[in-house]
């Protein structure tokens, strides 16, 4: 059996990768992608926990999280489309009109 801690470490790494992507990528779509990665890191935890505690609940939760992630991205993409129509760009650095 793979020890639980290994799963935790991998999910941690995944989370960090996602986080880095969110902070560093300029393209909005890639930012949304990074969010997906972070959410899936959590999913990994749920699955690992489910295995460790022999409880199917974790897997159920993982499904829910996937749905939520999907919904999130949908909205995100919709807004990205709106933005693109206005600005002809999806660069995150360009959407800084509201400040101060």
């Amino acid at each position: 059996m793979i020890p639980l801690s290994h799963y935790l470490i991998v999910s941690g790494i995944l989370f960090s990768i996602g986080l880095a992507g969110l902070l560093l990528r300029r393209n909005l779509l890639l930012v949304l992608l990074s969010v997906e990665i972070m959410l899936n890191a959590a999913n990994l935890n749920f699955i690992a926990g489910s295995a460790a505690h022999s409880d199917t609940g974790g897997q159920v939760i993982a499904f829910f999280v996937m749905v939520v992630a999907a919904a999130e991205v949908t909205i995100g993409l919709a807004i990205a489309v709106l933005l693109f129509r206005k600005q002809s760009s999806v660069d995150t650095r360009d959407i800084s009109f509201l400040k101060g």
Partner: protein, 641 residues
Amino acid sequence: MILTTAWTLLALPLASAAFISVFLRKSPKTAGALATLVMGLCFALTCSLIAPYEALKNEGTPVLESSVRWLTAGLFTLNFGVYFNGLTLVMLLVVTGVATLVFLFSTAYMAGDPGTSRYFACLSFFTFSMMGIVLSPNLIQIFIFWELVGLSSYLLIGFWFEKKEACTAAKKAFMTTRVGDAGMMLGLLALSGFMAAGGIGSFDFTVLETALPSLGIPELAMTLIALGLFLGAAGKSAQAPLHVWLPDAMEGPTPVSALIHAATMVAAGIFLLARIFFIFEASPDAMTFIAWTGGLTAFLAALLALVQTDIKKILAYSTVSQLGYMVLALGVSDAQAGILHLTMHAFFKALLFLGAGSLIHAFHSQDIREMGARVLHEGRGSRLYLFKALPVTSLTFLIGTVSLIGLPPFSGFFSKEEVLAAAAHGPAFLFGLALATVLVTAFYNGRLFTIVFLPGGKTSSHASHAEHPLHEGSPAMTVPLILLAVLSVFGSALPIHAWLSSGKEPSHVAPHGLDPLALISVGAALLGFASAALVYWKRSGRLRDALPWLAQPARVLEHKYFLDDIYDRWVCGALEKKARAADLLERYVITEWTINGLGRLARWIGGGLRSFQTGVVQFYALTFLIGALTILFFMTSGWRF
């Protein structure tokens, strides 16, 4: 029943004042009528208390009190209520009686003045405050109403606030009495310190009177307490050197002077002395001081009246002088004589002031030289022309003057006799001063009367120019004069002594008949009056012109012993320097640097904080991350369990 009436008496003038100031701002006539009616009602109520009070006295319970608890602070409880005894009854009669007449007089005198409603509201408020003083059952409540009376006086002196002199006079009055009040407060505080040490928590007179001996206050402290309280009385009753405000207070309307600065407010100090007489009695040194203050004030003020040309100022100094008499009486332990003189003085002084008002109304001037000269200028040089043109005013003024001088059988004679008899028991010099004052009083009154009413063949450069004929005022003005004149004649018939005695002291025996003292004082009075008449009949009103050998003293008198100048330079000047320094401190250090500086600092920091809002979303995300990491770090390293 007595107590309910007492509470009503307290409430009515306040209600009247409130009603007038809210609803009757634009209806001066209604305001006047209402105020007068309310005051008349108060007087009627007071009279209705006479019989029940006498009945109670015969039963042996001459003191009534009713109060509600207001605050408690540690040991001390403060009640608010009413206190009724003989002294209260006498004072109430004086206050409500004279007030009603003054209100009636004012309805005619103030007609046409744009601020009439405000006048009646302030005057009603004053009456409320005055009744509060009279009805107070404890020292603190007296102090509160004391201040209210000071406020009302300020409002009324400065009534014609467009005149700069009126405003200055109001401020002067307020501040001078404030000095007195500060002394009173110090006395109160010292007393309360001893009370706290002795376990007494109430300032009620009944409680204090019985408890005072048991407090064991050392002599020096008792003297200082008494002097402190006396200072307050001295301020309100215009004793030297705190008398400087009273002549200036004549800037107010004449009925105000009649009510406040002759009959009631200035009497408040005398009343206080009588009310807490037991405190003063406990310190013989203080009593001596009081007596001397009274005597000296009486004499010095009388001298000052000699050089005044404004009729109201003459009467003002006369008031100061007579107040000195009352203080003197109290200082030599004859409280009843003092109160008796207070009552009689209220009558004839109010009469004289209202009469002066009537004269001012007729001549449109306050200068006595113009009044006399006008008569000449009319072409009717007859000495008795003024008596024919203004019969009521002239006759009543004469009655008032005679009563003031102290000729029998007018009421002023009896009260002054008692004061002099009491003074005879004191130091000889003081007695001599009192007698001398009788002479001077008669002299300046004679001067006043002669110049105004008996002008004899002199001309003056002060002829006035208005050419309409002289006439009496309306009945609203003449009726009060007549009534007050009646009281000035027959006032001594009132059983004041009977009311005042609480059965504890032997009732005061009025001196009668051909007492040698009576003969001396009457003689002095007649001498003074006659010599004045002689001196001023044909000569000008200025003392130094009439009697040139008195030119130097006259100059000192005209400058009011230079007291005003001394105050101005040493008191006001010094204070002004400090006030300017404080202003600079407040304006620059406190406001500009500290307060505004803090504000600028806040804005500057705020501006700096705004720079975090760069608008770049990933920067926000970065902040999020850093924040989370910081929290994580601190929470996990510091708080393990």
